[in-house]
Symmetry: C2
Subunit: 375 residues, 2 copies
Amino acid sequence: MSATDQSTAPLVISVDAMGGDEGPAPIVAGLARFLHQDRDAHILLHGPKAELEPLIAKRKLTKSVTIVDAPDVVAMSDKPSHVMRHGKSTSMWSAIDSVRNKDAAACVSCGNTGALMAVSMIRLRKAEGVNRPAIACLWPSRNAAGFNVMLDAGADIRADEEDLLTYALMGASYARNGLGLSRPRVGLLNVGKEEHKGRAELKVANDIIARAAPLGEFDYVGFVEGGDLPSARVDVIVTDGFTGNIALKTGEGTANFISESLRAAFKTTWFSRIAALLALTSLRRLKKKIDPRRVNGGIFLGLNGTVIKSHGSADETGVAAAVALAAQLGRSGFSDKLAARVASAAALGQDDAATSDAPAAQTIQPAPNKETSIK
Amino acid sequence: MSATDQSTAPLVISVDAMGGDEGPAPIVAGLARFLHQDRDAHILLHGPKAELEPLIAKRKLTKSVTIVDAPDVVAMSDKPSHVMRHGKSTSMWSAIDSVRNKDAAACVSCGNTGALMAVSMIRLRKAEGVNRPAIACLWPSRNAAGFNVMLDAGADIRADEEDLLTYALMGASYARNGLGLSRPRVGLLNVGKEEHKGRAELKVANDIIARAAPLGEFDYVGFVEGGDLPSARVDVIVTDGFTGNIALKTGEGTANFISESLRAAFKTTWFSRIAALLALTSLRRLKKKIDPRRVNGGIFLGLNGTVIKSHGSADETGVAAAVALAAQLGRSGFSDKLAARVASAAALGQDDAATSDAPAAQTIQPAPNKETSIK
């Protein structure tokens, strides 16, 4: 069975049942919520069969969910190198292999990020032209889509200028397929907007991303700062995985701190308690807008297959959101589109190097016919 | 006149009138607010005399403020290297020279951060044992003090393991003198709490900061993540200036985005409009708690003198907060205390290297008498 190339067959998503902090229960609850809204999808659920069967039966999901028995679990404390060597019988490995074997269009796991990336790398392999795969996350923003894309959110602690260019191409492709933006605006995260600021590799990346923009079919806005992550002047923010991870956790931490402080403020006086009741609907709407659970699902970009990393602490809502994202990207054939995009950029990059005395604008401009089918 | 060593003389603070985005008016307004609450302080205000005199006269501040004529202004777009070569007649240069000449205990400027750091470096010089000075900022937090200290917030885009150790010592000293914490808890910012995570220099820094903790009279909590910046498990967060700057602007950007969204939420329905009125006092209290203007004032650490960088867009409240911080640190003799702390650590570090086969705990333990006077 091949879920990715038979458009009449139901969409199949592979899910690791065992990665979450609270075990499989919230994951099955999330699946139930997702399947309630997406009745054409089918789930391959990986984990210890004896443990999962009663949970699936209780939720009456036996028709939509096929359990794939995998006795072992990757712990949050397991080192990626250990899982790579000894992880063949884990639910995570099994879930990724369903994508490798083309039994599923995409995979979702709440497990250990490092291990998930390591196993994804060895089982799915890097796409042609990709040196370092990246994790892209959605960032609540002032844009109409409600979100910006930031990558790398922590797949690799390093990125050189070529990696940053690849991230720009992959992030733009994800924004087209995940957020429906036909011509995303891409920015490079730095400590200031001025061209002379920042590390040496950022100055080089600034030049090569600007030159690749016509080919990548995105608009390059130049350097952006931390304050631009939720801004409406950019759709895709490119950075290395160390900086991206710190920024992501800083943003989440700040939002949680303000949210806590707000709850406390509403409890200070009787007036404010009444106010909280009156404002309940509006505040719920706001919470929904900036709720990290709704944007749950970092996506691994640059592999031969789509893998979505959900928070370890994801609850029912978070898991449902991650699986819904997997379904959307699976249906759009995103993985193949992204691979074609990066491969054509790599090929043109080689042309560019071979004919480096020709004007830059000419060498990076693709033949129009060749590009129209690639998103 | 020496403001720093004559405790009977009034405290003198040097202020650059011309650095702010809106010119000298908000700076003079901020001074008026500060001087209303701190009547024992005196201000040396640097800038074009003809422009400042009417502002000072209008606010009736002529007794508390002495204008130091400096005709030129450092623009936000000026490169630091240009200001270092051609900036002698600027208000920024003049304001720093008041600290150099010991006419003032500390200096405040809203100007161009890069230029302010560059001029501070050449006029005040780095303190003994400091390779890279840092900017420390206050971060709203769950701690009783209401703030954590983060450094480097952007003085330098690089930091090696020795620099990070110096930041730990300087940050702890600032937390003692600025926040009144007798034994600050210090953490090192990384992409995970586990010891095997992060860049190579962070693993080395993790070891040497842990060993220096008894000497620095702080508790080292190990690696912390972006989400810990507002947390109560740490008081001082150490990182390089690139990461720190991104984190700071990400935190500010997130807070502004939520604040905007909240205002919009309170306008959606009639119920929510009434709610906003009822909750006004509580919300104002919250705003005050997390208002970036109240924590205005990054401080340059590691120079022979105290320099405070205020936001370019600081208003009256922000300027008053920055000058009040300068006054507090000036009165505590902070600059000398910090220099003694770092110098003694550097000296002990040399001892440590010379006798590296001796147990670490023994070599970094200072003689108790020697340390008691240093904060």
